[in-house]
């Protein structure tokens, strides 16, 4: 080895050693976000008070008309479930047409098996549970989309791109809450958007506006003065299917263990 080669190699090795390890690190968007500060001031959440719900179904009707979901098709972005728990410990649940026309009979709709009559004297508990998209913090429906047609907006709402959806149905299978379906007209995946066109204009969602009893409320969890935030932070609220780790953002007052 001559002197020239020795100096060259020494310079290479020293240069290689001094190169910081961070130079090889791939940028993580979450860290990038943390370093620049989270600029989003809004995170939409929903609150349902099952004590107040009377099962009139006006929310379902309003949702269908507001969002152009074919009225007589058996699909809906939101629906109301009725739970009747009888003294023998059995749970009876139904949601005829998603409760679009409310519950105007005491008989439980069993689908093709007809109707089940329940005597008032046998009832231990009876209540209504409105359901809608949970706008999960970790939405499994978004994870599985192979084409990037469904995504999470920074304010937490999960939307579907109708021009980009290929109709594979993965997201419909992935949602543990069963809130997704195919739109009968566009033949693309469809879901509750928290009425994104209304909440971004300062209005409430159509279902919240249509509810006469105040059973449904929408709020911004990042605003500590929001009445919905105050209830979620100070009262006993439940969420659906917590064990899935999806971090659902629809909170329920008076949730019973029979409700899945």
């Amino acid at each position: 080895m001559n002197r020239r080669d020795f100096l060259k190699n020494t310079a290479r090795v020293v240069g290689g050693i001094t190169l910081p390890l961070t130079a090889f690190k791939i940028i993580n968007p979450r860290e990038l976000l943390a370093s620049t500060g989270d600029k989003t001031k809004v995170r939409w959440v929903f609150l349902v008070d099952t004590y107040k719900c009377v099962g009139c179904g006006m929310c379902v009707r309003a949702c269908k008309l507001e969002n152009d979901i074919p009225y007589d098709a058996k699909v809906t972005r939101t629906w109301v479930e009725r739970y009747v728990i009888t003294k023998d410990g059995k749970t009876h649940a139904d949601s005829p047409m998603g409760a679009r026309d409310g519950f105007t009979t005491s008989k439980i709709d069993l689908g093709i098996d007809g109707y089940e009559d329940i005597k008032n004297a046998d009832i231990d508990k009876g209540f209504f549970v409105p359901k809608l998209c949970n706008q999960c913090e970790n939405p499994p429906c978004v994870q599985v989309c192979p084409v990037g047609a469904t995504f999470q907006v920074p304010d937490g709402v999960v939307l579907v791109d109708r021009t980009w959806c290929i109709g594979c149905g993965y997201c419909i299978m992935a949602c543990p809450y069963g809130v997704r379906f195919f739109h009968p007209v566009y033949n693309t995946a469809e879901k509750c958007t928290f009425c994104y066109h209304r909440i971004t204009k300062g209005m409430k969602t159509a279902c919240v506006d249509a509810c006469p009893f105040g059973a449904r409320q929408i709020g911004n969890i990042k605003d500590p003065n929001d009445p919905v935030t105050k209830i979620i932070m100070t009262e006993r609220v439940g969420i659906l299917k917590e064990e899935y780790g999806t971090k659902p953002q629809v909170y329920y007052l008076g949730l019973d263990r029979e409700v899945k």
């Binding site: 009377v54 309003a62 008309l65 009832i123 995504f151 999470q152 791109d161 021009t163």
Partner: protein
Amino acid sequence: MKSHVYRPLWVVIGLVCIILVVRYFYVPKDFGIGRRGYMYGWHRKADVEFWKNYKVKYKGSAYCKDCHSENYNKLMQSPHVIIPCEDCHSPAIDHPMDPQKLQIQKGRGLCLRCHYPLPYPTSGRANIPSIDPDTHNPGTECVMCHNPHNPLEGLK
């Protein structure tokens, strides 16, 4: 090495080039990733505007107030004050231009949504006055006798 060995390689390289060119023109320019990376934020950004610009159809009871003040004020004095106008009168959309007339729901089914007797404990439904539709003047529309804007007004 002979060229027949390289030939499939050229085919593969050609295919990759074609796919890259097609992808360049087919994928929208605003297709990108959001703040949470590919898993949750991979999308076409213009679609957020599509959902923001969706048409609002339910305008709220304040929209009805000025022209229909008589019924509006009557409703405000009654126990039915909690019910928004559009629940029974259908969404206003661009009324009075479009639609010129709203489709009012008048059937018994509308009132029975709340007034069918379902005395479920732990549900607000148990506290609403109710009638049995099989015995309470079957076949007659409720509005023939009751005023929905003020049910306490007395029978017509």
